[in-house]
Symmetry: C2
Subunit: 431 residues, 2 copies
Amino acid sequence: MSHVEIGGLSGCVGETVTIQGWVTTTRSSGKVAFAVIRDGTGLLQCVLVKSQVAEEVWDRFQGLTQETSVAVTGEVRAEPRSPGGYELGLTGLEVIGESVDFPISPKEHGTAFLHEHRHLWLRSRRQVAIARVRHEVVQAIRDFLYERGFVCVDTPILTGAIGEEAGNLFSTEYFDLGSAYLAQTGQLYGEAAAAALGKIYCFGPTFRAEKSKTRRHLTEFWMVEPEVAWLDSDGNMELQEQFISYIVARALDRRAEELKELERDTSRLESVTAPFPRLSYTDAIAYLKSEGHDLEWGADIGGDEETVLASRYDRPVFVYNYPKAIKAFYMKENPDDPRTVLSNDCLAPEGYGEIIGGSQREDDYDRLLARIVDYGLDPDAYKWYLDLRKYGTFAHSGFGLGVERTVAWICGIPHIREAIAFPRQIHRLYP
Amino acid sequence: MSHVEIGGLSGCVGETVTIQGWVTTTRSSGKVAFAVIRDGTGLLQCVLVKSQVAEEVWDRFQGLTQETSVAVTGEVRAEPRSPGGYELGLTGLEVIGESVDFPISPKEHGTAFLHEHRHLWLRSRRQVAIARVRHEVVQAIRDFLYERGFVCVDTPILTGAIGEEAGNLFSTEYFDLGSAYLAQTGQLYGEAAAAALGKIYCFGPTFRAEKSKTRRHLTEFWMVEPEVAWLDSDGNMELQEQFISYIVARALDRRAEELKELERDTSRLESVTAPFPRLSYTDAIAYLKSEGHDLEWGADIGGDEETVLASRYDRPVFVYNYPKAIKAFYMKENPDDPRTVLSNDCLAPEGYGEIIGGSQREDDYDRLLARIVDYGLDPDAYKWYLDLRKYGTFAHSGFGLGVERTVAWICGIPHIREAIAFPRQIHRLYP
């Protein structure tokens, strides 16, 4: 059943074709009628002149409702005023599947209602645009890393007791081996792979059983985590700024139409080019205090303060070398200031906050073991991870970029739950 | 800390460079010594002439052990007999990290021992080669689909009670919403996305809590699942044969070196071009019976019989239109023979068995509901899935390709557990 797609009509002007798709809108003057059809690859206006078609076709057309699936036949005409640039002079119309009272009408709906009908809401123009931007971001991530010789290494989701934070874990019974936990990160496995392959990345879903109900949190989200042997913290930030610049440029270049559909102010994205400004944690705290924020050296920087810091720049900003006490056990101690670690966050502008967390990793066996013990973790579970420091230890760094936060920022949408097809939040597991 | 990679030495002949990496092997004649260094991007032979280097460098060299991490400095020379085509005239040697008694020596080890040390075993030449082939397969999958306008839609891992088989599910407690289950497939979500975007794919880890202990089973494995609106079962098989041919050709083209390392007979892969032979289930059973196999129409075709069928061809073979009773509820009934469904498996040659399962989906609301009830599933949990047949139903088809099985076949390795970095089997959750 080969068929012509709306997205591929440019070579069909003057030809008579059949298109299969769904009705989005219809209007009729009594003599001329219009329908906009979508098929996932684009939108196509169909024009029907009563005097030129069989009466049964005209009558059938009057019965079309939103999301009825149809096969429309007619001649393709160039029409610059139409969405997509073409229109169809409709001569034949077949109804494939009816659609009575489609729940998502063009009127406003509440958020809960829309999410309850997410499987149908996905068909709306805005949601289609977001999905295509996300798709471009995902492929851009893969292409950037592939072209630079990074090897994709898929790290496990089901893991023993190992990860970033002891709390916030989803667990499942694993045959006779007790509990398995859903990975919060692939990084530790990525470090093992970096010793084998030099430059690697993992890219998959990650899980946090967090009770956070903010517009920046999901319980299941996708994260890409590059890990590079022989790279230090400075080089890590250089890699990150090149990475983000590439992703944004690619979205601007190839998804201009979708960003327009989303009414995104793309001038705010065009300034996102490397290098990005860099601010030490210590300087960031000093600035925030000078602006009247009530926090002292050692405190974490919250979402609101991130927005304050990021709003000073026209591109993302790095905040680097956080206090050791508020960061993960595997981050390398800063030799110039042992109160801190060689870490960095990358904050997106326009209030989108942290999109990357990265660090140079602790490569000294004894220090790492001490940190594991200090953090109350079980050294036995980390035996294999410690082995990486026992057999030819190596300087290495990496980071994790959250896909939904990045997509939300690029699309300019307020909540990351629209940046994934079927979001998982603490109160949402359906559809 | 910028550094030169072994994989990037072609432009450095005659220059003095420093390389950071790990020692794989060393040998010494007393006057001249050799070490092969790896850094993840390639192998480099280093040559050391005692009379030409400082005594301390010579002495330090004698202490090198397998997997010691080092920085080696010297002049790059073209040397066709060396692995990679270059060698380093070593003048400087710094030991970065010692490696005492690295567990994986060049001697033979047992399977259990190797898997227990998977984090270190990954560094061996064969495992590096497999990882790079897998990486190429993953990128080839993405590129094939991207170039053809498929939109990547990441479907959820955490799901309500919905999936392929009621048993074999991993479950986890999900806040106040009861149990969530780890997805066995993203297909059902993919169908909703296909109605929005036309051609989509999901590609992520999938989970089966199966007690199968065969060389073809993992509890966690990666699967790519394209889903296409307005595609029928025949078109689905055409898509599959183009897809597989592309992936195999890409591996042959870009990973020739790795396939050589794996001693793969690549002539067996060169014949993998579309079209593939197609055999109905009914004909397959008749053939197997004629060959003396003891099975009747209606029985499933097991792994051994798959091998018999596939061994008749020099490329994968489709077996299509299986009995309805042994296939999933969502497959479309065959209008020409209602005992069967419009499904297909794709069997790889050389005993690798099923690498794809695909089908046209049931698009009639009433028939689908009846099947859900017949299979003892809860229609309420499938309400959103049924909605896809209620609002503008559409012919559509799709399939799932297992990454590890495909990689194992292309690499010619006997067990799929080596086709993923950290395999999960019923008795293995570590490292």
